[in-house]
Structure formats: C-alpha cells, structure tokens
Symmetry: C2
Subunit: 660 residues, 2 copies
C-alpha cells in the first residue's frame, strides 16, 4: 500500500484491512468461502463507505438511502464486514463468526431478508447488476414523482462473471438506453476467474463495450484511495450510468497467493493468513477490530443519520407526503370496489375473450385506480396486452410514465422488475410468451427465494398459440414453474378468473405471482363472481348432483371439459367440473376442502401440457388428457385435434372410467 | 430498386423478388406468419446465394458445406423460399403452399430435421447466433485436424432480437475471443422490433459493441447488391468474425406498410399484396416462379455441386480419410472394452468418491480412447472436473485442443455445444452447477426438441453442496429438467452408476443427456458391473427376500437409503433398495419390469429435491422424504439433518408404513 497521502487515506487503508482481516477470519473459521473478492475490493469498498455512501444503520429501510448491490455475491464477506463495521444492529461479531452456518444471517451468499443492509439476494452471476438497473430506474421514476423526496445512488460491485453473463448485457443495454445516471458499477477488474486468467475466455474491451451502450466509463487503480475517490466523484456527476473499472489484485494482501485464481473460492490456509496479517500490518486477534476502525466507520454512519434527519424534515414539510406514503405502501385496497363492479359486468356480459385480453381489461381497471402499477413487456406489447389506456412510455429523461419497453430481453426484464419491487414505490408486471419463461427463469427463481411480489404476465400459454410451433409452445413450462417453491402460478380459465387472478396478484405481497394466459378466445364460464374462487386454487365450477365423474382442468382446457360435460349429460353421465387455476393455492387449502372439491368419483385431468405435477390431484386409476411431448406448427384447433385434447376424448375417457 | 448496374444484379433483384412473392403468398395462404424479415432481407439472401454460399442440394449433409443459420427464425419463409428455389428435393412448391400446416416441413419456425437445408431449429431469439458460434468453432477444430477436408463458412441471418438477447452477447464475446474468422453475421438492421422503433428500447451502437469484442464489422445498404456483395466478400477475407449491418427496410416491397412494425408478424392483406406485386413488377401468379428465377438459382446449385465433387476428389486422395470418417461417425464402440475394465476395477476397489469425481475418472477412460469428445466448462473446471489428462485448451488460432473454456456463460456454452453437435465430428460435453441449468434452459430445450446428443455435466446437484446456500442449491431443478420432453436426466448414486451414465451418454445419439452429479463423496454401493443397470432407469440395487418396504432413491440419497436399510434389518424389517438414476429411462421400460422393480410393499422415495415427478413411482399412501422449499447455507451434513433427509427419518417412516 504505497499511496498514503493524507490522514483520510490512512484511515481508509485501515478500514480496508479490517474488511480483509474479517474476511480471512470468517472464511478460515467456516472452512469455506471466497476470500479473493473481498480482499481485492476492500479498498474500493472502504472509499465508497468512507466518502460517499449514504445509508443509515439505525433505520435500514429509509426510502431515500443509497442502494448497494453486491452483484458478485460470492464475496459476501465484503458486505457482512461493511455492515458490521458501519454498525447495522443485527450484524454483530457473533454473526460474522457464524459465517456460513445454519441459521446465521451471514449465509454463503447475501440473502435478502436475512439481515439489514442486504438489498437483494445475489450469487447467481449477473443477477445483481440486472436487478440494480431496476432499482436505479425506480429511483428515477420516484424522483419524477417526488423530486423533493428522492435522490439517491445505486452502487453495484460486480465481477467478471457479472459482465460475461448474458443478462449483464441486457442490463447494460437497458441502463444505457434509459441513461440511468445515478447507477454506478464498480467492476472488480482483477483479470482472474475461477478457471484462471480471464484471457482464457474473453478478450472483450469492457470499456469500449459499455461506451457502445451509452455508458460513462472510468478506470482506477483499485488499491489507490485517491484514484478510487476521484472516479466515484466523477461518476456521481455523470448524466449517464458509469462503469468504473477498478484494477485490483484478487486476494490483495495475501502475499503468496494474491493475484491468482487460488484465492477466489478457497481458504488461504493458516500459514498464508498469518503472512497476510503481517504483510498488512494487522496485529489484532481474529474477529477483533481496533476501536479506531469502528470510529472511522462512525463517520459514514453519522453522515447517513444526518442525511436521513434532513430527509425527514423535507418529508414532514412536503406537500407530496401522503402520496409518497401511499406509493411506498402500494396498498391495493382502493381497487377492490371497481374490480367488483368490473367482475359483475363480466358476469352480465359473459364475453368470449382470450384471457390475455381479459387481463388487459382487468388492467384497465387496476391501472386506472392504482398509481403504483408499472407495466411492461419484452417487446411483445401487442401480444401480451400489458399496456392500458394512457400509460406513457418510460424513456431517457422521461420517467413520469408507467410503461417500460424492456426490449427483447426477458431475463433483464424479470431482474429489473425484481429491482423495481425491491426498491419500493412500485408494483411491476411484465409480459412475454410463456415458453420464454425459460429465458428469465433465474430471475423468477430469485424473486421466489427473496419472497418479493414481482408479477409475471405470460401469454400464449399452450399449443393454443398455433402456427408458431413447438419452439413457442409451452408443454413442460407450467410444470417447471409450479416446481419453483414460493411462486404462485395462476392459469385462469375465463375473464372472471383472470380478474380474480389480478386481485390475487395485487394482494400478494410476500411472493411472486405468474399468470399463464391464453392466446385464443375462451367463453366466460363463471356465472357468479361475488367471492374470489380463484384464490382457493381449485373449486367446483360446475356442480353435479350425482357426480359420476370429476373433470379437473385449468385455463383454456376448462372450456373443453365443459363441452365434454354437456355431451356426457346427454349420455346420462353426471360430470362435475373442477377448475384448478393454481396448484399452489389449492395445495394450501385444508385437506377436507380439497377432498370435497375433488370428490370420490373417477377423475380426469385436462391440461394442454405434460402430466408432471398432476399427481397432486390424480390417483393412479384416474386419467389425464394432455401432452406427452413437444407441440407442432399448425392452426390451434388442428393441434388440439391431433394431440387428442378434445371434448370427445374427455367424454370417451369418462365413459371408460365410469363404465357407463 | 435503383441500383441495377449489371446483369448479375438484375438477376439478383429477380431472385429477391421471388423470395418476397413466395413469402407473401405463403403467409397469406396460411393466414399467419412473418413477412417483414424475408421481404426485408431478400436482397441480402439473394446475393449470398447468388455469389457466395456453397451448399449442394443434391447432398444436403455434405460435411464441408457452408452452414446457414436463420437466427431470426420467425422469418422462416426466407429459408424455405431459398431452399425451394435452389432445389432441395424435399422442398417442393407443395411444401411452400402448406406453410405452417399440420405435418408440413414448412413449420412456423425452421425445425431441424423437418427438411434438408435447415441446419438448426430457431425461433427463440439469440439461439441461432449462439449455436452458429459452436458450428463455426467446430469448423475450425475440424480444419485443425483435417486441413485438406475442412474449409467452409458459417453464415447467420440475425435480427435485432438476436443482438438484444443476453445469449447473443455470450456468443459474440466467445466468437470474438476465439477469432472465428469464418463466421459471418448478416444483421437485418431495419430499426424495427415488434413494439415499434428499436429506439424504444435500445440505443446501443452495435458496430462499436462488436468491435469491442474483437469482431470485424461492415455496413451495407441491404437493398444494394453491389454493397452487399462487397461486404460479404471482405468478410470472407477477415481473420476475425464479421458483423455486417445490413441496413434494410422491413417488409421491403409492400408500398404502404414497409418500414413499420405492422409488417413484422402480421399478414399484409390482399390489397397490400396486390400493391406489392405491382410495385415489384412481379406478375407471376401466386406460388408460381418464372423459369428464369429457377435458372438463376441453378448457378449456386451448380457451384455447390462442383465444389462437392472437388471435395470428394480430395477426400478420395486424402491420407486422413479414415480418421475423418471415424470422427464424423463418432462411434463410441471403441470405449466399451476399456470402460468395462474400468468398471471392474471400481468394483474391486470400491472407492468413496463424489460422482463428479467418478465422472472425471470415467472421462479419463473415455477421452483416452475416443478422439471426438470435447470437454468444457462455464468457468467451473476445477469443480465440474470436466478436464482430463492432456486435454489442451482451445484458443484463438489454436484449435487442435479438446477443452473449451466457455467462460461464465452457461447459456452460450449450451448453445455452442448444440452447434458442435449439429456440425458433426464432435461429441461435446460441458459443465456447470446444476442450479445454473436455469441459465441455459432454453438451449437444453432446443437440444431436446432437435434430438441432438449434447451432453450436460451438472455438478453440485443438491443441498449437498453445503455452504454456498440456496441460490446454488437445486431443489426444483431435477423436476424441471425431467419435465423437458426428450431429455435424459441421469443422477447416478456411485462411481459405477456414473461410469454407466457415461456409457449411456456416449451411446445416445438422438437426444441430449444431462448428468446430475454430487459435490460430496459417496461410497460405491454396486457390487457388480457386468450389465449397465443404469440403462434400465431403475433397478433393485439391494434385494430383500421378504421385502417389507421398498426404498427408492437417486444419486446421493441412495447412500442414505442404504444406511436406513441396514438399521431396519437390525429391527427385523426387510428393506429393498431401488436405485432410480433416470426417470425417463425407467418410464420407457415394460410395465411388468417396472412393477417387479417397484414391488407391492410400501414405498419410500428419497431425494434431496421436491416431490414433483415422483408421482410416477409413488402411490398416494407411499411416503417421500425430500425437500419442500429452498435450501440454506450451512455445512452439508447439517443441512441433511435440518431438512430431515436422514437414514433415521427413512427408518422411522418405514416403521410407520409397515406398522412394525
């Protein structure tokens, strides 16, 4: 460390070394972890905290705090050390000592909700930077609405992996396009990945690449506080997002191993830790930090507390106060009455519309009442029908709108929506084709893991999309999404269920909701809408007095079951129909309710998808009518015929099962 | 069309207009399709075919043909029109007339295997360009081995979507890094996406972006044959991959609608088609093409035939002939005997190793015998253990090696592997963590849809990975992969099953295989290895004379079942153990075999994953011991205890189910 120019720098070196020491101690004790990144980026983080970041450890969720996203999540000890040193009350030394142990707040990768100051769960590379774009966008959108109450930065610490992952590019492109000037990415440019030198797999000139997407860029020596400080200072003044390439030595301070891929994700070992402590001049015992370091971190803590106090004053005096609170609360109660009226009208008119169209109709109501819903699509607006009357597009320097053209970037969209949801103030929903859920699955999974209320609107949900063929036709997609823990998948069968699905989505605050909607028109089958039956997950849509057979269907196949029931009635077979819009919500019902709904009669499941997952409601002797493989390209009615998903097939099966 | 300079150009305009006319006719007749791209890129395609491309319609699978990848797969009529006009025998006019109909070769998007001249299934955006990188890489790798027999180009027609999707960036970065000079991307730079102007969602300077990744770049007016021709000519001479930005008007030729997003994916309408025909001076009836156009396409057809004839001569005279044939055949028979010896040794030594380690051991045998296996990893080589002794790394200008550092790009890796497999000559396998299967799922799905033998090696396959926590722990991933039709998922329980899994992977030629391998060590449980029992999908690993209960487990949980059976034996309960390494292979067995294996006794399924999919082998009264939600960060043994996946839990459940 040869650039000690002034007392602040001296202090920052000490702050950085505290991060390094805690990292080494925690990894060594856990016998597991990634020391390379925290040790390499310690100087950058120390300067960021010492001079710039504005967070208040005494009120971690203060809305106008800066957001810090550790996109290179494997370097979690960097964040834990910072959060400990700056004084978040739930990150005491005991937590640092419990790094990577059962029940600890200090998980292997930062887990949102485990501790204060963890803004997002990271680890799967690229997710952090892509989520941060949503946060930085939310900041601009809130600033457009509440300029007196919103003005903060989003800082991202990213590694080579975040820049190599495709989702990173989607994020970079979107952020540059929208000129998110308060987004600052600190790239740990250490030239090392797990396999070795980055030159093994990439030669991209990252500076040029970011500039191509409209970013401001800078380069600094990541171990020289003065350079780091100047780079961040300039970045904050830029009207464009900034990439700062921080040239660092991975594992900085570990004399024998630094600068090699050996320090990325493996222990340094007792001997090397000892050498590093000597090398860094760090003579405190393991898990001990000198008071002077805590004192140094007290400065940014006070800065944050003062900033919040000033914000509280502005807030108290703001004419926008109530509106701001309402946005942050994102309470969907005001929409209940208009939605009830809308549903009553649906019952009255009984329209025949695709559920994607019904979704648009419901959204007209929702967006007309709630100011915090933010629509968008991955370039399929006219197909997903996600944009309602009067929704203005978001664009660079124009953030007052409510509709986002995410571009042909499903993954970036999903991650950005997660960021909007995490930031607060907005309830994002965004559309693509259901088959392309695969493109954004890692971000859907993270939303579920974090328990945040992102809403995914996925249309063209089966072979019913017709001619586009098997690449665009989901068959395994529903099962694969129902498999994700903590995700609610809704597949409504008509306009009423679709409206109910939107009610559920808006009232669900602790997990993501995904809607699977039809391309093709479907009749309104529900005849009353006073209670939200979709919320039960499954219910008897059409009762049968004798109930010879129970037809269980979802989405567009409920119509087919209905037609089959009509035919069966003529043949003297009494068929009940169970609509099953959500397997997850149904599974959460009491067993008695489920048993009653499913009944004792033979059951036939009908869904234009594979059978996997239907074991929940079908017994070994029950039947399933659906897909067994990929779809094909042809008009939809032809496909339903060819794949045998027809009222005839259902009726025949009912005859067979009932023996009538 | 104002640049008609010479007879060739005149002819090319006519060729392009034939593509436009057929596109309009087919879309109109199908009442469905995407006319915008084929009409916009018709001139580029005409010049490419007229002057450059070398394919032989009389032998579509000639190994040294140029590869043409329609990455913007929605423009499928461009490819079908070209393949019809140049004379592929299976693409007659009847097929063009059946565009997008049941059973037609002319599906909505190009489907590999449906017709000659379709090199890859495309439609999900970005897949084409990313797969093409694998093809272009395969070409260089074959050229390094057989310089006298390999020298062809890979042309890609890509749209804005292909460049916006993240996987596109992964592909660009990798191709630029490896300097795949014979890869030429023709970008349909029409400034229009489905939502409208590209400026709605991107302002990236694509030329600068590609240059940042080491590409050669060019710009041409996509409607001026001379400019197009010069750009392609120069691109072919470049030592770097080339992006040609073809400035085009989407829907070129439709006077009222061209240049707008209305022509992207909707019919032109009868009136506009009539106007377009007049505008283009095209007076043939629908689905009729003047002889002069066929004659013009005869020129490239002859060029291709001549080129192949010359190649056949070189081939006949080549000293490498037999080796070349062997590589293209990729027959795994030679490895059978050494693998048998290897397995016998495993039985003898009974090692306790992680299945990822066992995979490495098996690969040592495989790679030592077979020259066509190509290893790689998405920057987790030391974790996936995919590299064996003596495997040299592939690098720019150094293509003789057999190991690919794909970088932190799981999606790009999977697509590139598909390209390697499609090209022929190689059997690619590549590794990442199982949780990150989500990152490359669209490419895994395409491999399954195409029925190509890509091999995915996915390690760290459960909570058994321990401290890295829930972001890295698959729980729903196995189910979500088993859901993909035509994909074989293998989760071996010990070193013997892992060796068998490799035998299966190598002998499977018509679909992809994915292995889920443990991080943690597992004992060898098999006591004989003469027949490949894994190939049956499920089998009785430990017989029980009385069989009071059947324990069914996969992978690392078979050990737990084994321990439970030991305890149960002491308590007088006779437990059989069924190892179930592959649900798909087991489901393909005769019912009688399956019934015999599963037995009549109560069953307990054990897998450190969610229950979904286990309905295939468990009845309503059977039990399942596994996960119900996400994992956590802690040492693996602690996680197994906390989540209740233990021999104790299995034994207790057996007591309960048997009432003993």
């Amino acid at each position: 460390m040869n650039v000690i120019l002034n007392p602040m720098v001296t202090e920052e070196v000490m702050m950085a070394n505290a991060i390094r020491a805690l990292t080494m101690d925690a990894v060594q004790k856990a016998n597991s972890g990634h020391p390379g990144m925290p040790m390499g980026m310690a100087d950058v983080a120390a300067v960021l905290f010492s001079r710039f970041i504005t967070v208040d450890p005494t009120q971690h969720d203060w809305p106008d705090r800066d957001r810090l996203v550790l996109s290179a999540g494997h370097g979690s000890m960097l964040l834990y050390a910072l959060n400990h040193l700056i004084g978040y009350p739930d990150m005491d030394m005991a937590e640092i000592r419990r790094f990577r142990q059962w029940g600890a707040r200090t998980a292997g990768h930062p887990e949102y909700g485990h501790a204060q100051g963890i803004e997002v769960t990271t680890g799967p590379l690229g997710q952090g930077i892509a989520t941060a774009v949503g946060m930085a966008l939310a900041e601009r959108m809130m600033a457009a609405r509440f300029p007196d109450l919103t003005n903060h930065y989003t800082y991202v610490i990213a590694g080579d992996g975040c820049l190599m992952e495709g989702v990173g590019q989607e994020a970079i492109d979107l952020a540059g396009h929208l000129r998110l000037g308060k987004l600052i990415v600190l790239w740990d440019d250490n030239g090392i990945t797990i396999d070795g030198d980055t030159k093994l797999s990439t030669t991209t000139d990252q500076i040029a690449r970011f500039r191509a997407s409209g970013w401001n860029t800078a380069v600094c020596d990541g171990h020289k506080p003065v350079e780091i400080s100047r780079a961040i200072f300039d970045a904050r003044a830029s009207k464009r997002p900034t990439l700062i390439a921080c040239r660092t030595v991975i594992g900085f301070g570990a004399p024998a191993k630094q600068g090699t891929h050996e320090v990325h994700g493996a222990l340094l070992g007792v001997e090397e830790v000892r050498s590093a402590r000597a090398h860094l001049g760090w003579d405190s015992a393991p898990f001990e930090v000198p008071d002077a370091v805590y004192a140094a971190f007290g400065r940014p803590a006070r800065r944050g507390r003062d900033a919040r106090a000033m914000w509280e004053k502005r807030f108290a005096a703001s004419p926008n106060r109530e509106a701001f609170v309402a946005m942050m609360k994102a309470d969907s109660a005001p929409v209940r009455r208009p939605m009830a009226a809308f549903k009553a009208k649906l019952i009255e008119k009984s329209p025949s519309v695709a559920t994607r169209k019904a979704s648009e109709m419901a959204l007209e109501v929702v967006n007309g009442v709630l100011p915090f819903t933010i629509g968008g699509s991955a370039d399929l607006t006219g197909s997903n029908l996600t944009r309602t009357t009067g929704m203005e597009s978001i664009a660079a320097n124009s953030f007052a709108g409510r509709y986002i053209h995410y571009g042909i970037r499903e993954h970036g969209m999903a991650a950005a929506m997660n960021g909007l949801a995490l930031h607060g103030g907005f309830r994002p929903y965004g559309g693509t084709f259901l088959a392309f859920a695969d493109y954004c699955r890692p971000a859907i999974r993270l939303a579920a893991l974090m328990g945040i209320p992102t809403i995914f609107v996925m249309t063209h949900d089966s072979i019913g999309l017709g001619e586009d063929g098997p690449t665009h036709q989901p068959v395994e997609t529903l099962a694969s999404l129902r498999a994700i823990p903590n995700l609610v998948v809704l597949r409504p069968c008509d306009a009423v269920e679709t409206a109910e699905a939107w009610e559920i989505a808006l009232e669900t605050r602790d997990r993501p909701v995904l809607m699977a909607l039809s391309r093709q028109s479907l009749p309104t089958l529900r005849s009353e809408a006073r209670t939200n039956l979709t919320a039960s997950g499954g219910y008897v849509l059409r009762a049968a007095e004798r109930r010879d057979v129970t037809l269980i269907a979802t989405g567009s196949e409920v119509e087919i079951a209905w037609e089959a029931a009509d035919r069966l009635a003529k043949a003297g077979i009494d068929a009940a129909i169970v609509s099953l819009p959500s397997f997850e919500l149904f599974a959460a019902q009491p067993k008695a309710y489920r048993d009653e709904v499913l009944g004792e009669a033979p059951r036939i499941g009908v869904e234009a998808a594979i059978r996997m997952g239907w074991g929940e409601v079908l017994r070994p002797d029950d039947a399933f009518i659906g897909m067994t493989g990929f779809g094909a390209s042809a008009p939809a009615p032809e496909l339903y015929r060819q794949f045998g998903i027809t009222a005839d097939a259902v009726a025949e099966t009912a005859h067979r099962l009932t023996g009538k």
